[in-house]
Amino acid sequence: MKLTSQDLTPAFYAAALDGRYTVDKGFVRQNENRQIYVTLFWRTVMISVSGDGALPPSWLSSRISACNFTAYVSSNLLMIMVLLPFWTSLLVRTTAWIAILQSQGVINDLLVLVGVTTDDARFSLIYNMTGTIIAMTHILLPFMILPLYSVMKTIPPSYMRAARSLGATPTMAFLKIYMPQTIPGVGAGGLLVFILAIGYYITPALVGGQDGSLISNMIAYHMQKSLNWSLAAALGGILLAGVLLLYWAYDRVIGIDNMKLG
């Protein structure tokens, strides 16, 4: 009581970190079963990392568009396939994933048709963690591919040929020659995807259900439903601090001037 009557109190930050702030004992951890916010923060971080987990495939795909399909037309077509999702409304893509992943959706129908599962044992792919991860990977993948592509475009293919002619195996040439040169793109894309993923709100709110919701959803919930604005502000403050730290790192490493769009 004494604490909440003061103008400034760390109590809500403590609550946001699953603890309690008491006058005499300071920060005390909350009971095990009431620790939700730290779990939520961790889940958000994990999802952001798994968004980055899309890294190897996108790296492959940008590589293919960068070097293999040098023929002008097909490379352009592939670029459109990356850019069209990038330009399509977020809600359109989320709706599309609902249509595909829901229990009466395209994937489940297909699986029943093929005989992988029966009609009454359809997979629940949406309104849980799986749905969030799939939809967010799809939405954030272009943000990874585009920076990678712009870096890989500048690597001359003759380097790889030179390495091969000097006796390197394909794997060796790839690891020692090609990969080190793509590091700036990987850093730029990965950091950007991580920053975007950590504050994601719309997609998890629509396809996440209970266990797929992220920290942003909790902030919005406390703002709009439970009206615990101080707690929302504390959660938001922690998230903001994290994002600003990453932003600072991004600015340091890549420089915001070098950010490219489309």
Partner: protein, 304 residues
């Protein structure tokens, strides 16, 4: 497709095709959701899934009813015969029509505002005598980076105090803030290729600062300005979090309407709207590509 060199080993052959198929799957993953939406929006049944009839290409199974629903939903007398009265009823009362009107109105106003502000900021920031350039730049870009929920919540607190929340002006300003970073980035990128001596030349020939800007600088950076404006427009057009926090039902935009459509009454009308939005994004993509080519051509001329 490039031919494999003759020294390729069997393992490499296999890897080559495995690699190709993995990449093919990734591109499929990217484009499939967008393609799936298109046929589903012509479904006769009020479901989100393919019916038997659709898979057999039965013409009975396809219809335009969800597209009509975009026009009809919320009208005073939706079954009245087609006439001017029906059209004005649609224009004034249909929920989706209102959302579409709001989206375009807010989007265009926000785009104009953020394009003007962003271009000015970019020109100022590109001058070498600008102090604290880096700091100011990162502050101006930050709306793009900071999680939308936080920005929107902050705006909600602030705008409520100055009586701007739940007004058109409030939503427009919020969207302008969110769109400005895109304009700054694209215009800054164009200004890198801008030859500063042209400004000095024009000034030495007696043009004032305004005329120099209008006649010399503006025509050269206009592709960047327009593509930045398009980015700002699509940002506003696609934005839902700020609208959720700031707007009243009066200012519902298309994404906001889709949001409540997905959460409350799921019907293929959303898929019909989604199809229309995909077409819109194809148009925008084409415009942007044409602009990019034009700007490359222009740059080719100035550098030679």
């Amino acid at each position: 497709m490039s031919k494999l060199p003759p020294y390729t080993s069997t393992g490499e052959y296999i890897w080559h095709y495995v690699y190709r198929s993995i990449c093919g799957l990734i591109f499929l993953f990217l484009i499939l959701p967008i393609i799936v939406v298109l046929p589903l929006s012509f479904n006769v049944e009020p479901y989100f899934s393919f019916t038997k009839g659709m898979l057999n290409f039965d013409p009975e199974a396809f219809s335009l009813r969800w597209y009509e629903d975009i026009l009809r939903n919320g009208m005073a007398s939706p079954d009245a015969p087609f006439s001017w009265a029906w059209l004005s009823d649609t224009w004034n009362n249909s929920q989706w029509m209102r959302a579409i009107r709001n989206s375009f109105f807010i989007g265009i106003c926000a785009t104009l505002l953020s394009t003007a502000l962003g271009t000015l900021a970019a020109i100022g920031l590109s001058r070498s005598e600008m102090p604290y350039r880096r700091l100011i730049m990162s502050i101006l870009i930050s709306p793009m980076i900071v999680p939308l929920v936080i920005t929107a919540a902050g705006m909600f607190y602030f705008y409520s105090q100055v009586h701007l929340s739940q007004t058109y002006l409030g939503v427009i300003m919020a969207h302008a803030v969110l769109g400005t970073p895109f304009v700054i980035i694209t215009v800054t990128a164009t200004l890198v290729g801008f030859d500063k001596s042209l400004v000095r030349a024009s000034q030495s020939l007696g043009a004032g600062a305004l005329i120099t800007f209008r006649k010399v600088q503006m025509p050269l950076i206009i592709p960047g300005v327009i593509s930045g404006g398009l980015f700002a427009f699509i940002t506003s057009f696609d934005e839902v979090v700020a609208v959720l926090f700031l707007a009243s039902p009066e200012q519902r935009t298309i994404p906001r309407q889709m949001w409540s459509g997905i959460r409350e009454q799921i019907s293929p009308t959303i898929l019909a709207v989604a199809t229309l939005l995909v077409i819109l994004s194809i148009i925008l993509l084409t415009v942007l590509e044409l602009l990019r080519r034009r700007s490359e051509r222009l740059r080719g001329i100035t550098s030679s």
